[in-house]
């Protein structure tokens, strides 16, 4: 009885220690740096997708000119650099600078500053015309937001290259190890944990919204996606002869979305869940044509890959000390 009381009294302490360990144990920022490159490339893709239509959408006599937007309720708290002028020169200036900023972030030049500017840039495009945004943009801005928090330029960046060149060259392995340990950061843990929790919440949301309709319950939702003649990238209508296939596919998509946020935290189940996520998002990209969205969801799922695994996969970087926080 006494031991039970003592366990209960220790519970708040244990929860507090677990919380601190989960969020704040310093960890290697390699995963964050890889995410910076992948998210940067996706943001570049998004930015480039506006190039052909920039003036057509936002310019004078644009489809979504400021006069037209006045008819819509865009919300009170949306700010966009593209709201300041419709002049083509101004739009092209912002667009061109946008490429510079996003390239700088991806390459890791003045990483913190360029990441914050990248977030502001992408938000400007999103807020300029929220009615033409969809599933992709909230995931992209979420990832950029968390990249602003951690040391995303610690590796694989021009910043880190310049830092290494400035540092005194030393072949002493102990000194190298100490230098490497210095890269471990609580902010890296906070940033990657924020990503992980938010991504897990996205999976829950996707799974629950799917189950809000009959099609995902009865197993024909994948067929209705296949049947979207103008969106799909591959024609799989031959599957009409094999309803069990699209039934199974539908149930698997729901299953992955609902189990991913639970099982991905388990070290043994994580590789399986990531492979399943890759297969799911890959297949959905082909069927729905939502390539950007499926790509960013898979990239976001990679936030669960530990720095050690990244090292093993990359084989170019020194393995770091095991970081308990990232496991």
């Amino acid at each position: 009885m006494a031991s039970a009381t003592s366990e209960v009294s220790q519970l708040p302490d244990q929860v507090g220690r677990s919380w601190t360990r989960f969020w704040f144990t310093p960890s290697d920022p390699l995963t964050l740096c890889v995410m910076r490159i992948l998210v940067g490339l996706t943001a570049l893709w998004y930015h480039a997708s506006h190039t052909t239509d920039l003036v057509r959408w936002f310019g004078p006599h644009g489809i979504l000119s400021l006069r037209t937007l006045a008819s819509f309720d865009r919300g009170a708290w949306r700010f966009s650099l593209l709201d300041l002028s419709e002049a083509p020169g101004y739009l092209w200036l912002i667009h061109g600078l946008g490429f510079v900023v996003l390239l700088a972030m991806t390459a890791g030049v003045f990483t913190r500053t360029s990441t914050i500017l990248s977030l502001l840039l992408v938000l400007s495009y999103v807020h300029r015309a929220p009615m033409i945004t969809a599933q992709f943009e909230p995931v992209l801005t979420m990832m950029l937001l968390y990249l602003c928090i951690g040391p995303a330029g610690a590796y694989l960046s021009v910043d880190s290259l310049l830092r290494r060149r400035k540092a005194t060259p030393s072949n002493d392995s102990a000194a190298g190890e100490a230098q490497h340990a210095c890269l471990n950061s609580s902010w890296a843990t906070v940033a990657i944990r924020l990503m992980q929790v938010h991504v897990a919440a996205f999976y829950v949301l996707i799974g629950l919204t799917m189950l809000n309709g009959d099609t995902w319950w009865v197993g024909d939702a994948m067929w209705w996606l296949i049947a979207r003649t103008e969106s799909r990238m591959v024609n799989l209508t031959f599957l009409h002869r094999a309803p069990f296939v699209f039934n199974a596919w539908t149930h698997l998509v729901v299953l992955v979305n609902l189990t991913f946020p639970l099982l991905v935290w388990n070290r043994s189940a994580r590789p399986i869940m990531l492979v399943l996520a890759a297969l799911m998002w890959g297949s959905l990209a082909l069927v729905t044509g939502l390539v950007s969205y499926c790509a960013i969801m898979f990239i976001a799922s990679l936030a669960f890959v530990t720095p050690e695994t990244m090292c093993r996969l990359g084989r170019r970087f020194q393995p770091s000390k095991p970081a308990a926080a990232a496991n």
């Binding site: 310019g59 644009g62 801005t141 937001l145 799917m210 099609t215 044509g289 390539v291």
Partner: protein, 221 residues
Amino acid sequence: MAGPIARAVASLLIFIHFFCVFVAMSANFNRSPLQVRVADTLSIYTEPLNLELLAVPYHLTHADEPDVDHRLEILPQGKDPADSANWIVLPAGGVHGSDSSRRYQQIAATLATFGTSPVPSDEAISARLAQSVAENLLHQQGITPQRIRSRRHALQAPENIASGDPRQMDPWDEQVYFRTPYEANLIVNDDGTISVVKVDPEGEVARPVAPAGPAPPAGTP
């Protein structure tokens, strides 16, 4: 992180942040009045950071009307509307899976949704949007538009493919698979503006929308 105070502050901020995120996420579909109210209050934080997910279709499909493909089509001046080959589908030469094509589909879906809404202010929004698309074509691409429409490309059921009926089996059949929830005639005015006259399904026409100026307020007869 420096010390326990810094960690405590960070913990509090993380908690507040995720509270806002989870409220915004839970308000994605089938919102309760409480969720609407709390989400509205928190929009001062969630909206600028684009954390709001109001009605974003993360379910991908429920096979409802908004879940089908939409096409934005323009008929140039002097062309026969009965011949579907005369209609320009926007974006011309759009690539499947491209973000550009998706945005035009969303505009077409918005036209269809607002254009079929019984709320007068919604109809004004669809007219304003149609006017913008038409003026864009006129002034930026030099095409004088005569008519605009948003078409829904209905989904082909597995039974239709197996039916043996050639028209049911062809997903591009105009009569079987295409619906036109929104269509409007476009009148080019002398000053280069365009008036929009909605064509109702019964063939009736609605009142023209003023070519310039802000949208009429809700409730205007």
